[in-house]
């Protein structure tokens, strides 16, 4: 074979020897990192001959020494070189800042970025791979315009992801497509390091092919696979320290006593009339002066609890460590490739014992047969997670409201707890200690296998079958305890399992056709999805030992109770897609999907979701070719429809459930068992509870979206970016509104109701430059904004939306509108009190509500729309500087505008809304005649003025700017020359290091104003090695 080649060359040489040294020039074109570039145009300037590089970047072309080769590639700086010899040569093109040839996975197929006509954002996975968040979506926060992500600080916490505002009132979570298989489970269940790419399909023209579940957007995740011709071992390790830089400041024991005193004297009540504190004061209610607060030695009559000064939040929280290790091995050849990866993630939690441990293993391979005509492959992903079952919400809440005077332990080592005069609230440290032995085990196995057969070289049939099993198992023991006046001498064992299963079968036919300058891609597909869920749990009491190892149901001797339930739904879909490209210049795409869902009534079971889009690559036109400024310019327009079916599986049916009895502790028993024969115990007769009113006419919620987009590259793509403007109309919004009480239980009914419109724009701009050989700078900024408006509001769903249900409705306003009273400052003089509208409970230092209808009475007619929680815009800025072996990245993210309802204010500003609990230190600065400029209402023990009402007092600015991430990496490759690392880097980084918020926001963090689990600062040191 070699000889033959040589012979050919020789013959060619002979043929060309007519004129000097002429012949075939061969070469390989790569990018700066050495990766081969396909489809680079190589032309000989003199002879006008041209060719394209193949998959491996190789080309051969007839040329002669002295002639000029021109290598051009979309978006890259064109390279011109003189042919100096006919030997095989290496060429490098600078494609930094160019991603036009990037392969983008879109609906069921892949396209090059330059051919896209929809609004698709590609996430630079490199930017986020080192951020040890446990959920890749967290790391994505602020990086993609139009994608709004909010998180909490929980170690395994799921995130809230919103694409282009709120699309519906129901589940707004986007649909995730992981390696082609749709799922709505959160991404914390997979290993962030396994992710090769993330693409966000924001507009309907690109998402519509996912039909009935795509209305809230689609995020496509592709995981890593082995690459042909590579053998590679990657190892990444990092250790992080997380801690708080923001938290609430509750009162200490003495301050709490002082606040109580102030509240009591404001009420003209004897402050000494309480169970704990004694006060030395001047006994003058009109000008009270406190000399000192006397704290007793013991707080309980039995003298078991010494008065303490417990900072409960400090007792339940800790600076803690996150460890993350990943190993991946991959291999690829002509006949196939394989990859195996193993990950371990251990987040010890910022709240003690909220540890999350996760082990993931991933294996995938592809095999080629018959010269690549038949390909089969599979992916197997397993996840195992271990989390203690702690009532974290209770613990964090209690850590703020539990009285500081309560000790953690009694003098004999028992649990401290509330005494008379306090709230019946438990000791949060006890909740941790008594529950930490109860561990939930989560396991998930996702497997898929495909077969892809090329009937013709350009006609493929592919069938994929995927099974996704996810299940929880836990066993728990409830331990007996005494904590203050709270106690429970009984123990209880619980065993619980559940599993969720999704089976997906996809079949598709793809056909590529090139006719002259026209290129067509066709896709025809079918997909069945079946979801099943089942759970079982049992509890038993009367265990002989208080030991988790004994806590099995069979060890129980009394109150043995079992529960089990299940549900299921199915989707059956057909879809098709046609892409057309003319001369790399004019682009068009059409998709259609027909979905059937078991969730809807027989009459409305199927719906069709069409979409179409066009694109014009203006820069390919003659008048712009070679333009020194504009290197790339594309205009896009897309239109499409998507659906939402996120409702209860059985919403079309009127249903009863044989609910025997429910736990009545925090909500009334909804059961139907009754001791009709007066036996007092034993199995009771029971009946059925109405749980739902069916609506057989129920149908899809439909979102219709138009998207106008521009992609541009300027100055040889040094400056590039995209702008998108969208109009999104959602109709038939599914809602289960509050209903008239006379309907009783099960009066809830799903309806197709309102319509709303979102309009918005998104922009992302990147600037990449090489200031010198050693110094590169890259800046990427993005900004997005949307406006929401309810455009149709039928009366049968009015009660489900903000407003008073009659005269003031949300029609024409944002769905996120806030409706309530206007807090018009405080009454600071008696004259103001006397001359204001009648307001039950008004008085000096109380909040004055505005009499909006001027009828002289403050009542529910004085509410109005106060604004909305929609931000004006959200933005992000990523800056990356590399100098020699150093890489420095910092990333800011922010939200501007929008109101947030600051729930903390109930505790930080009032002693009356949670009178038995601890309060925030803002109460020390509350209004008194002696402190007349305070904006905080006068302290009182009784909320006479209904100050907890939904009012502008609690609405504060949600603006913030955060330094989300800063990272410094150092490339070790030059240092470790002896070992042939492909990649060797160490890094330090920090997340959430700096935060700027509006001064009008009085809580710790406007990003999660209602979540007591604050977002920690995470500082990390790590290493990445590839061999």
């Amino acid at each position: 074979m070699r000889k033959l080649l040589l012979l050919c060359c020789f013959l060619a040489l002979l043929a060309g020897s007519v004129w000097a040294q002429s012949g075939t020039v061969s070469g390989t074109v790569t990018d700066k990192s050495g990766a081969p570039l396909e489809a680079v145009t190589v032309s000989v300037v003199e002879s006008q001959k041209s060719t394209l590089t193949d998959l491996k970047g190789n080309f051969r072309i007839q040329a002669a020494v002295g002639q000029t080769l021109r290598l051009s590639y979309v978006g890259a700086k064109t390279l011109t070189v003189k042919v100096t010899s006919l030997t095989h040569q290496q060429f490098q093109l600078d494609i930094s800042g160019n991603n036009l040839n990037e392969i983008v996975v879109t609906g069921y197929t892949a396209e090059k970025k330059k051919d896209l006509t929809g609004a698709v954002s590609v996430v630079n996975v490199n930017d986020i791979k080192d951020i040890p968040e446990g959920n890749p979506m967290k790391a994505l926060q602020g990086r993609v315009p139009g994608v709004n992500i909010t998180e909490s600080g929980t170690p395994n916490g799921a995130v809230t992801v919103r694409l282009r505002g709120i699309t519906t009132l129901n589940n707004n979570d986007p649909l995730y497509i992981i390696d082609g298989i749709p799922t709505q489970r959160g991404l914390q269940e997979i290993n962030q390091n396994d992710i090769e790419s993330i693409q966000v399909l924001k507009d309907a023209s690109s998402a519509s092919i996912y039909g009935s579940r795509a209305a809230a957007g689609v995020i496509i995740i592709t995981t890593k696979r082995g690459r042909k011709g590579t053998k590679r071992i990657d190892f990444d390790a990092s250790t992080s320290l997380q801690y708080y830089n923001s938290k609430l400041t509750p009162l200490n024991a003495e301050q709490h006593g002082e606040a109580y005193w102030r509240a009591a004297v404001n009420d003209h009540q004897d402050p000494n009339n309480n169970g704990i504190y004694t006060y030395n004061w001047n006994n003058d209610y009109n000008n009270p002066v406190l000399t000192n607060v006397i704290i007793p030695t013991y707080i309980d009559g039995a003298h078991t609890m010494k008065a303490a000064d417990t900072h409960w939040f400090n007792e339940i929280s800790q600076p803690s460590v996150i460890q993350s290790y990943n190993l991946s091995v991959s291999n690829g050849s002509e006949n196939g490739n394989s990859l195996f990866s193993l990950g371990y993630y251990d987040n010890r939690g910022i709240i003690k014992d909220t540890r999350d441990q996760k082990i993931t293993a991933r294996f995938n391979s592809d095999y080629n047969f018959f010269n690549g005509r038949l390909r089969v492959g599979e992916t197997m992903n397993t996840t195992f997670m271990k989390d203690p079952i702690l009532p974290v919400g209770d613990i964090t809440m209690l850590s703020i409201i539990e009285n500081p005077i309560i000790p953690i332990h009694t003098v004999t080592g028992g649990w401290g707890g509330p005494v008379a005069g306090m709230d019946d609230r438990d000791n949060p440290v006890r909740l941790i200690e008594n529950n930490k032995q109860n561990i939930n085990n989560f396991g998930r196995i996702v497997g898929n296998a495909y077969i892809d057969f090329a009937i013709l070289p350009n006609l493929h049939v592919k069938s994929t079958y995927a099974a996704d099993f996810a299940g929880n198992y836990y066993r728990a023991i409830q331990l007996p305890y005494v904590a203050g006046f709270l106690s429970n001498p009984a123990n209880k064992a619980t065993q619980s399992t559940d599993y969720a299963m999704t089976l997906t079968w996809q079949n598709q036919l793809t056909y590529d056709l090139h006719l002259g300058k026209s290129a067509f891609n066709f896709l025809l597909g079918e997909e069945n999805i079946q979801d099943k869920y089942q759970n079982f749990n049992g509890t038993a009491q009367g265990l002989a030992l208080n030991d988790i190892n004994y806590a099995y149901l069979t060890a129980g001797t009394s109150n043995i109770i079992v529960n089990g339930a299940g549900s299921g739904d199915a989707l059956l879909s057909y879809f098709g897609k046609a892409n057309y490209t003319y001369n790399d210049k004019y682009l068009a795409s059409v998709t259609v999907r027909r979905d059937g869902s078991s969730k809807f009534g027989a009459d409305n079971r199927y719906a069709v979701f069409p979409a179409a889009s066009v694109g014009w690559r203006v820069s390919q036109e003659e008048f712009l070719k070679g333009n020194p400024i504009v290197s790339d310019l594309k205009l896009r327009y897309g239109w499409g429809q998507t659906g939402n079916q996120n409702i209860a599986n059985n919403a079309t049916y009127t249903l009863y459930s044989s609910i025997y009895g429910t736990d009545p502790t925090w909500d009334a028993d909804h059961g139907s068992a009754y001791d009709i024969s007066g036996k007092n115990s034993g199995t009771l007769p029971s009946g059925f509870t109405s749980i739902q009113t069916g609506n057989p006419k129920l149908k899809w919620e439909t979102t219709t979206q138009s998207n106008f987009g521009v992609d541009f590259g300027l100055f040889n793509n040094k400056l590039s970016g995209s702008l998108d403007y969208f109009i999104k109309n959602t109709t038939n919004i599914l809602i289960s509104p509050p209903y008239l009480a006379v309907l009783g239980e099960g009066g809830n009914e799903w309806l197709n109701g309102a319509s709303m419109k979102n309009t918005g724009f998104e922009a992302i701009v990147s600037y990449n430059t090489e200031l010198s050989r050693d110094f590169r700078l890259s800046l990427t900024g993005n900004i997005a904004a949307y406006r929401n408006k309810v455009t149709y509001l039928p009366t049968n769903v009015l009660t489900g939306y903000p407003g008073n249900g009659t005269t003031q409705t949300v029609l024409g306003r944002s769905i996120n509108s806030e409706f309530g009273w206007v807090a018009d400052g405080l009454f600071t003089t008696q004259a103001q009190v006397d001359n204001s509208a009648a307001q039950p409970g008004k008085g000096l230092g109380r909040i004055r509500y505005a009499d909006l209808n001027n009828d002289g009475v403050i009542d529910d007619q004085d509410r109005k729309f106060l604004g909305s929680s929609d931000p004006n815009f959200i933005y992000g800025l990523n800056t990356s500087v590399s100098w020699r072996n150093f890489d420095l990245t910092f990333f800011f993210q922010g939200v501007q505008g929008g109101l947030v309802y600051n729930n903390y204010k109930y505790l930080t500003d009032f002693t009356s809304l949670a009178p038995g609990s601890n309060w925030g230190n803002r109460v020390l600065d509350a209004w008194t005649p002696q402190n007349p400029n305070s904006k905080i209402p006068a302290l009182t023990l009784v909320d006479r003025n209904n100050e907890g009402r939904y009012s502008s007092y609690f609405l504060e600015s949600g603006s913030y700017l955060k330094l989300r991430n800063v990272q410094l990496a150092y490339d070790l490759k030059p240092v470790l020359k002896k070992v042939k690392f492909q990649r060797a880097q160490i890094f330090v980084q920090a997340s959430n290091l700096l935060r700027f918020k509006s001064s009008s926001f009085t809580g710790p963090d406007p990003e999660n104003p209602n979540n007591i689990y604050p977002i920690p600062v995470v500082t990390t040191i790590g290493i990445n090695l590839s061999y």
Binding site: A570, T665, Y674, V742, G744, R944
Partner: protein, 573 residues
């Protein structure tokens, strides 16, 4: 074209799953309304309607009504950790702070309508059952109308004007039924009609003791007619007493009395001890249970906050008798109540129940420091068991609680309660309704023996009221009315005696406020109470009863909004 076969195969693959049945997901673990039409399922639906009697919660305790009837009557303070602890009830207690958006009011309204809806759902099914397969049809209809009558009765005394919905009305037109479709009197007639139907079709006895009987229905009918007899205008003023209704009250009470099924328990205590449940005094009671396979037992959840704070119990110190209530148990030298002077001297701060004389029902009703708790001489109630003495004093209510050693006791941390039944109607009530009707008909002489039956039983109820050393807990001295000897039995005097007797006999049992409204004296009575009581406890500083408004709770603002203004607010609100 050998590839044709591949193409055909590929297209077949794409259409292979076009099976229609793929999308027919049968609902799992639930039952469609259409499947309930079997005799055993219908029986279950009847049970479910009974079950609603006790499906209340501590923020809307309609099973025993303490927060509405006891708390708002001057008999009790809210109790608990302070005025802000379940502040909705502080609004009830003070009246002046009450609001149309009080969450407990909305919860009460909703959950009482859940009871109505359960009865209606079962009735709709029973109505369609043929007697051939469902021989109990008429009896079950009667039981269900009894239950519906009960829920409507509660709604009526709480809210006055309510939407009336029965099983004949399709759910789709519920939103067209206003709370003003019937007049106040018309609503009473609808409720009375349900109890009348029940009284005509229920058996005298039931093998299941929890089921309504003829006697229960007649008693409830008498109660309804008694309330209806006191006519009210639109501003809640009592405008007269309908004598024909009183005559019917008398008739129905007589039917119950003459049935031979009922009698007073020999000792008052037995009404409040679990071992005497379903005694002859129990006309209709909510049947509670524990160890019954439900997560926490079907216990008396409405009273779950009412236990003291000592280590044997632990939460939550609600429902504290007022000083005024305690003073009402004082007796004079004749052993009779001090109608007008009982509250002049407050006995509570002294804690001395030995140097005065009291009705023994005091120690059955109220936990007092130094007195045995729930008749247990080894468990003496302490002042330190109170939750917030600075606001609510040291007393607690006793009738609803049990000894922690009793098998009916159940902890549901942080709360606790018991499976002890709660009486909706006990026979003593029937006797006093008859007495009240007679007095208002000018037949006070016939009322005297009825009232004296109640007092005689009180006289006989001191056996359990002993300290550890066997001595009487308090100085008991109580007697029957002996006209000419210890009193002059005029019509006016009889009315005072009747009203005072009701207060003592049913103290803390949840209906006192509704007696006051029925008699048309709520405003004057309560404002007089507040003027004295607010000097004893700081939490009543704001208390004021607004006449022509506070006789009823407001229609919940939510419901007015959800009805899009179809429901009209009550007078004065």
């Amino acid at each position: 074209m050998k590839n044709i076969k591949y193409i055909v195969a590929a297209v077949m693959l794409l259409t292979v799953a076009s099976c229609k049945k793929y999308l027919d997901e049968t609902p799992q673990g639930v039952i469609a309304a259409s499947n309930l039409n079997t005799p055993s399922n219908v029986e279950g639906m009847v049970i479910a309607a009974y079950s609603a009697l006790g499906n209340d919660h501590y923020t809307y305790p309609f099973s025993n009504m303490w927060a509405y009837g006891s708390l708002r009557s001057g008999d009790a303070y809210k109790g608990g950790g302070g005025p802000g602890d379940v502040s909705e009830f502080n609004q009830y207690e003070t009246f002046s702070l009450n609001r149309v958006d009080n969450g407990s009011t909305d919860g009460t309204w909703y959950n009482l309508y859940v009871g109505v809806a359960r009865a209606n759902a079962a009735l709709a099914l029973v109505d369609n059952m043929p007697t051939s397969t469902y021989p109990n049809k008429v009896e079950r209809q009667a039981e269900l109308r009894f239950l519906r009558g009960h829920f409507y009765f509660l709604l009526k005394i709480l809210f006055k004007r309510i939407p009336w919905i029965d099983e004949s009305i399709p759910k789709t037109s519920y939103d067209t039924i206003s709370n003003r479709s019937y007049s106040s009197d018309g609503l009473w007639s609808k409720i009375a009609a349900d109890f009348k139907f029940a009284s005509e079709h229920l058996p005298v006895t039931q093998s299941d003791v929890g089921r309504a009987t003829k006697g229960a229905a007649q008693s409830y009918l008498a109660k309804t007619l008694l309330y209806q007899a006191y006519t009210q205008d639109d501003n809640n003023n009592v405008t007269g007493i309908d004598q024909s209704k009183l005559a019917l009250v008398n008739t129905y009470c007589d039917s119950v009395i003459n049935s031979g099924q009922y009698s007073l328990d020999p000792d008052f205590a037995q009404n409040f001890l679990p071992q005497y449940e379903n005694s002859k005094e129990s006309v209709f009671a909510i049947q509670y249970s524990v160890g019954d396979g439900t997560p926490q037992g079907r216990v008396d959840y409405g009273h779950v906050l009412d236990y003291p704070m000592d280590v044997e119990y632990g939460c939550c110190g609600f429902h504290s008798p007022s000083d005024n209530m305690v003073n009402a148990f004082k007796t004079d030298n004749f052993g009779l109540p001090l109608f007008n002077t009982y509250n002049n001297v407050d006995v509570v701060p002294t804690g001395d129940y030995k140097s005065i004389t009291v009705d023994p029902r005091l120690d059955h009703t109220i936990a007092i420091p130094g007195h045995p708790y729930k008749y247990q001489t080894n468990l003496v109630y302490q002042a330190a068991w109170a939750r917030a003495p600075q606001s609510y004093g040291s007393l607690l209510s006793l009738k609803e609680v049990v000894a922690y050693t009793d098998p009916s006791f159940k902890r549901l941390p942080p709360f606790m309660s018991s499976s002890k039944n709660w009486e909706i109607i006990r026979y003593a009530d029937v006797l006093l309704w008859k007495a009240e009707a007679l007095i208002e008909m000018g037949q006070e002489q016939q009322a005297l023996p009825l009232i004296n039956m109640i007092r005689q039983r009180a006289i006989n109820s001191t056996t359990l009221l002993k300290q550890a050393d066997g001595s009487a807990t308090s100085n008991y001295h109580v007697d029957i009315y002996r006209p000419g000897i210890n009193c002059t039995w005029t019509n006016d005097y009889a009315r005072q005696a009747l009203r005072f007797e009701r207060r003592l006999e049913f103290a803390m049992e949840g209906y006192r406020f509704f007696d006051l409204v029925r008699w048309g004296i709520a405003g004057d009575y309560l404002n007089a109470y507040f003027s004295v009581e607010k000097n004893r406890t700081p939490h009543l500083t704001d208390a004021f009863f607004k006449k022509n408004r506070d006789e009823y709770l407001p229609i919940p603002l939510n419901q007015i909004n959800f009805s899009k203004g179809l429901y009209k607010q009550n007078s004065g609100w």
